[in-house]
Amino acid sequence: MTTDILSTPAPARGKSIRSRERKALLYGLLFTLPATLGFILFTAGPMIASFILSLTDYNVFKSRTNFIGFDHYAVLLSGKDELFTKSLGVTFYYVVLKVPVTILISFAIALLLNMNVKGRSIFRTIIYLPNIVPAVATSIIWMWLLNPDLGLVNTALSWLHLPTGQWLYAEGSVIPSVVITTLWGIGGTVVIFLAGLSGIPDQYYEAIEVDGGGWRHKLLHITIPMISPTLFFNTVMTLIGSFQVFSEAYILTQGGPNNASLFYLFYLWRTAFRDTEMGYASALAWIMFAIILVFTLLVFRTAKSWVYYEGDERS
């Protein structure tokens, strides 16, 4: 064999390492092939196709499809599509309300759960439970609870002599009402916070106690810095999720009243599947992608200044 010519000990060892490396590469690619194919077929490919589609006037019911360049984007950015502007405003309002409220409340609940109280695991189970209820069922339950005439919420409020509301049925209150229904499913975020909290070593708190610091010092100087990676993770995930709210709009409000809950993804779905304007809807999708990307990058950028990673094992 030709390899015999090179059979001095050192290169031979190099050779076997190289063949082992080659074997590892082969198997590595083989094991990850379905996932890579899936990425190409269901993510990368459709992404490119979606962009190309957004440059055409493709409509399922039109026989001819024309390439129209960036016309859709020009229309969207000029603000001529009032529903687009409206849905953007609605979605921003929702995100701005939902993200901080979700993060604050779930962090507070996690802090409570992290105390050494009896029956902790029962509380944790109860608070997580609504998170697994299907969105359709959640929506149906809350539609009734928030019903202005027959709902439990208004009944309870009037019983307490507090002002009642129109909730999902008034333009001014529909978005906060949707936020309330989604807060019911906050348990997932709570449990992630809880996992982060339980990872903080007790000694850190004890050190503060030795120095005579109270709970405020513990929270500001230990808990918040130590939890900041989890805080960061939860913020990014809630942010990305909130931009894409759909089921709630579809079932709870159908975008109403008077388009006051015309969430972006709902508008996109309507454009693509009811009006079958798939080219235009693809442009809508890309604008949404760009917005989410910008926001996520912004959070990532600020992360450097407030997210604290212990040591440098950041892998």
Binding site: F31, V133, G196, N234, I292
Partner: protein, 276 residues
Amino acid sequence: MRDSTLKLSVGYAFLVAISALFLIPLVWMVRSALMDLSQIFVMPPIWIPHPFKWDNFTRALTTLPFDKFFVNTAVIVVLGVVGTVVSSTIAAFGFSRIQWKGRNLVFGILLSSMMLPGAVTLIPTFLGWKSLGFYDTYVPLVLPAYFGGGIFNVFLLRQFYMTIPRDFDEAAVVDGAGFFQIYYRIILPLSRSAVIVVSLFTFLGAWNDFFGPLIYLKSSEKFTLALGLQMFQGSYTSQWDLLMAASAAVVLPCVVVFLIGQKYFLEGITLTGLKG
């Protein structure tokens, strides 16, 4: 950390109040599902039905073919869970236990798709399935699970696999085992709990999925429970007893699965959340 008694009791009171708030909607659903329509709206509210109207369930579940929806959902869920488990464990193995050139780069690229809003790929994916003749079938809802099983699951399993000592693999290599044997005989049995976590998340995701079936299914005899429930809600808007009975029936399997697998759920969330 030791907390003072005062602080503990205040915290306790808060926890009881919050838990009550979280439970009320579920309790309300169950009590209304078992109640006569004449009692449902009585003020102040009645919390315990009298008599228990069990036939609300039979009435609600037979007005629409919920038995069929149940079977349809079960088929999608089982096929989805199998595909996800097989496919994501294999991928996670390739991304954690085999050292190959470009591994982290490829994984990073795949991972970036987690940030991608589904809306961007939605329309071409839909058109693709449609042109292949798979509109109004379960193929678009199930087949993708066999291609990677979702990068989130791969990520979760990979995190778990990286905690398994490498000595195990090396010992197996000395015994002449190949990569596939290491995957099948060592890593898979050792990662039982992580596999359960992935199965549970996939089960719930598929059971609760609304958007997928809404877009891909047209004939009502192919509907899933989530779609069926939504259809029910559309046609029986004011029949709150039946609506609540149908909702409770759809929610119940999730609650049972969650309560049985609770330990694994919490483990799984811990596994993903700890590393930002």
